[in-house]
């Protein structure tokens, strides 16, 4: 199940430190005490204090009220999760793709394309190809500027690019730096440009991740890796958001086309597991979505 680091402070402190320095968590207890009677969901609790964490909650109710700020996996998580399955596939080599021009595109499409560009940058940040990485930073910045990103955040992007090009920021530190920057870009867009745009940037990154992974898995038999593409709840999250968006309701053609492809992906996501044909189909749908950008 999970490694356990709960309990007393000293145990927690040592476990965190141990985990972070690579020795793993020293715990090992099971935290969900077998045989404990379920107690009230603390989230429903109003003024009543739960002396211990509820061992059982109404998951659907928690989901329905749950925030989604940390729901969607980062693009780079696809690569890490892929490694965890034992698949010998390097997505970074596939992320080198081309950017699509954003001039004249709707803000929604620019947001999706910006998400792809940020995803490509995050995925390739530690490859060491300085010229290509600089170009990807510039491409992501162009998308962010096109969306009306805050001048201070754009300046930070410029600073990261300058520091990287000058060798002040080395490649193996760039990934962490860009993680923080990507987080702040999302926060800036969410607060200053609009939650809808911030979500579309996130959606673009997710579509790119699915596209790269499904392309890499084409013709390969790896059930664990294929399971990484089986994300019905993430798909439903983005699909619901897009359908409720103002452009969709106004009949925006590009957004409508993206929704149509996502609905086809939804039909696949409804299956218990994905076959090789399903993965090829997923790749086709994500390719079709990217072609709309």
């Amino acid at each position: 199940m999970s490694m356990t680091c709960d309990g007393k402070r000293l145990v927690s402190v040592a476990a965190l430190a141990g985990a972070l320095i690579g020795f793993g968590c020293g715990g090992g207890d099971s935290t969900a005490p077998a045989g404990d009677a379920p107690v009230a969901d603390a989230g429903d609790g109003g003024g009543e204090a739960a002396p211990e964490a509820a061992t059982k909650i109404d998951f659907e109710a928690a989901k329905s009220r749950g925030k989604t700020a940390m729901f969607v996996p980062a693009p780079t998580e696809f690569q890490a999760a892929l490694k965890a399955t034992g698949a010998n596939i390097d997505l970074t080599a596939l992320a080198a793709g081309h950017t699509r021009p954003i001039d004249g595109k709707s803000k929604q499409i620019v947001a999706l394309e910006t998400g792809v560009r940020v995803a490509d940058l995050l995925l390739t940040a530690q490859t060491g190809d300085k010229e290509a990485i600089s170009a990807r930073i510039a491409a992501a910045r162009e998308g962010l500027a096109g969306l009306g990103g805050d001048a201070a955040v754009l300046a930070r992007v410029d600073q990261v690019k300058a520091d990287f090009e000058a060798g002040i920021l080395v490649a193996d530190k760039l990934g962490a730096q860009l993680d923080i920057l990507a987080r702040d870009i999302q926060a800036d867009l969410d607060e200053n440009v609009g939650k809808d745009i911030a979500t579309l940037v996130q959606a673009g990154g997710w579509v790119q991740g699915v596209n790269l992974l499904s392309g890499a898995l084409a013709g390969k038999e790896n059930a664990d890796a294929a399971a990484l593409l089986h994300q019905p709840s993430v798909l439903e999250h983005f699909l619901s958001f897009l359908k409720d968006s103002a452009p969709a309701k106004a009949g925006d053609e590009s957004v409508g086309a993206v929704i149509a492809e996502m609905e086809k992906m939804g039909a696949l996501a409804g299956k218990d597991a994905l076959t090789a044909e399903d993965i090829s189909a997923l790749n086709g749908h994500t390719q079709a979505i990217l072609a709309k950008f």
């Binding site: 969900a32 909650i57 399955t85 923080i180 089986h230």
Partner: protein
């Protein structure tokens, strides 16, 4: 009381922050302290090769849980991090899609974390709970880091 190993970790974090991992002042001034606190924890994780998925900040009265939907992958290790103001007892709990408690940090402090290796790829819920406080509402920041 901090153990020496954690103190050393955070000393490293401070050095890393000075190297350039600072985040700009958060938009919400009242959440600045908890966001800074979380960023220090994130930087410490990054220094050990962990990547950041996302963070969030919010505020809540005591004993009213805030739920977060998470998608987690089997085979990965995640550290869920939280930070609240000094003197606040902040707890984190993680539940699987069957609603079962997977792990928790219920220690009486303001910097909880949960280290988890998911048994299955899928959806989870993280609950954030301010368990003890003397304030009407409490700012907190949470984040999720991952590594393989």
């Amino acid at each position: 009381m901090k153990t020496p190993i954690l103190s050393a970790l955070f000393a490293g974090t401070a050095a890393m922050l000075s190297f350039g991992l600072q985040s700009p002042a958060p938009a919400q001034a009242d959440a600045a302290g908890v966001t800074k606190c979380l960023d220090e924890m994130v930087a410490g994780a990054a220094a050990q090769g962990r990547r950041l998925r996302a963070t969030d900040s919010d505020s809540t009265p005591a004993k009213e849980a805030v739920d977060y939907r998470l998608t987690l992958y089997k085979g990965m290790t995640y550290v869920l991090l939280g930070c609240a103001d000094e003197g606040v007892d902040l707890d984190l709990r993680l539940y699987d899609s069957a609603g079962n408690l997977v792990d928790k940090d219920g220690a009486e402090d303001n910097k909880p974390f949960v280290f988890v290796e998911p048994a299955a790829t899928g959806e989870y819920v993280m609950q954030v709970l301010v368990y003890k406080t003397d304030k009407a509402t409490n700012d907190f920041a949470v984040g999720i880091t991952y590594q393989y």
